[in-house]
Every structure is written in C-alpha cells, then in structure tokens.
Symmetry: C2
Subunit: 69 residues, 2 copies
DNA sequence: CATCTAAGTAAAGTATACTTTACGTTAAGT
DNA sequence: ACTTAACGTAAAGTATACTTTACTTAGATG
C-alpha cells in the first residue's frame, strides 16, 4: 500500500505538526504514516482524506492482495 | 462509525463464512465487524469495499469526530 | 557561531484488530 | 427427535496502530 499523505500535505503547505494537530494525533504518527512505517486505522484514514478533500481511495493506493496487518 | 457490511452481504446472498474466505480472515472477524465490535483495518476495509463493488466511504458511515481507536 | 524550525530516529508502553478454539442457539429438513 | 447450516458468544493470545519522551540532523536566519 502506498500513500500520498506527504504529497498532499506539502501541496497544502502545512507542517507535520500542523497536520497532527488537525488530526488530533501525535507528530510521530504523522511521520510514521508518511514514511510508511505502518498503516493508519480506518478512522484516521478517513480524517486524512477529509483534511485533504479527497477520498480514501485517492489517498491510499492499494496493490494486489496485501496482508491484513 | 456505522457499517453496511451485513446489508451488503445479505444483498449478495453469501454467508459469513463465504465472505470470510473471500477476505481471507476468520469467520469471527466477519461476525465482529458486522456486530460493530471493532473497526476493520484500512486494508480489510478496502477488501470489503472491493468485494461489494463499492467505495470505502459507501460501506462505512463516519459520524462527527470519532476517536482514533 | 548560535539559534530556531521542520523533519527524523529510537524505544518502551498502551489500545485495539485479528486469530484460534470451543461452545451455545435457532430455524429448516429428513 | 435428530441433524445440519448459519449465526452468535467468550476467552486467551499475537500483531500492529498509536502515544510519549528524548535525542538528532539539516537548513535558514540573526
């Protein structure tokens, strides 16, 4: 699974810290998501998509059968 | 957060067990998701949406600021 | 050089998603 | 009455999402 979080955030001209405050998560969470260290929960994915004005499917690119981790 | 998993599954006329096999998760996971015991991971949500031929946003109804649990 | 901001790493802890196994219930068929 | 299918509950264990704290690094600016 790939994500466009970093791209969307920089397009929006906000810092990781600002994004983390909008989402009400820690800055570490934003860093880890952008770096692909783990996958967001469904609710967090939805908040991210809303923040960027797009759908979950536009923000995350799912590749052929992934593990459900 | 609400989900239409059960509705979509019964529309499709498949059992929980059949759905669990399509998704490659346990039957308990399907039961728990339908019953709202917990929220699916992003990848599982995507697989569910694909199975039902809809988007994640159509399958899950997000209500005003939820906890990110 | 000193300092500030933004981005990054690392590690330990908590919460929750998911699995596995086993047992209970209800409705339909024979 | 007995069996089978489908749905459900419960509990214990594992994996991972997320938090918190603390430290690092690179770039810009006084």
């Amino acid at each position: 699974m790939k994500t466009l979080i970093k791209e969307k955030r920089t397009e929006m001209n906000i810092t990781q810290e600002e994004l983390s405050k909008k989402l009400k998560v820690s800055r570490q969470t934003v860093i880890s998501l952008e770096k692909g260290k783990y996958k967001p929960s469904l609710v967090l994915a939805h908040k991210l998509a809303q923040t960027f004005g797009c759908t979950i499917e536009e923000l995350f690119i799912f590749e052929g059968d992934e593990n459900i981790e």
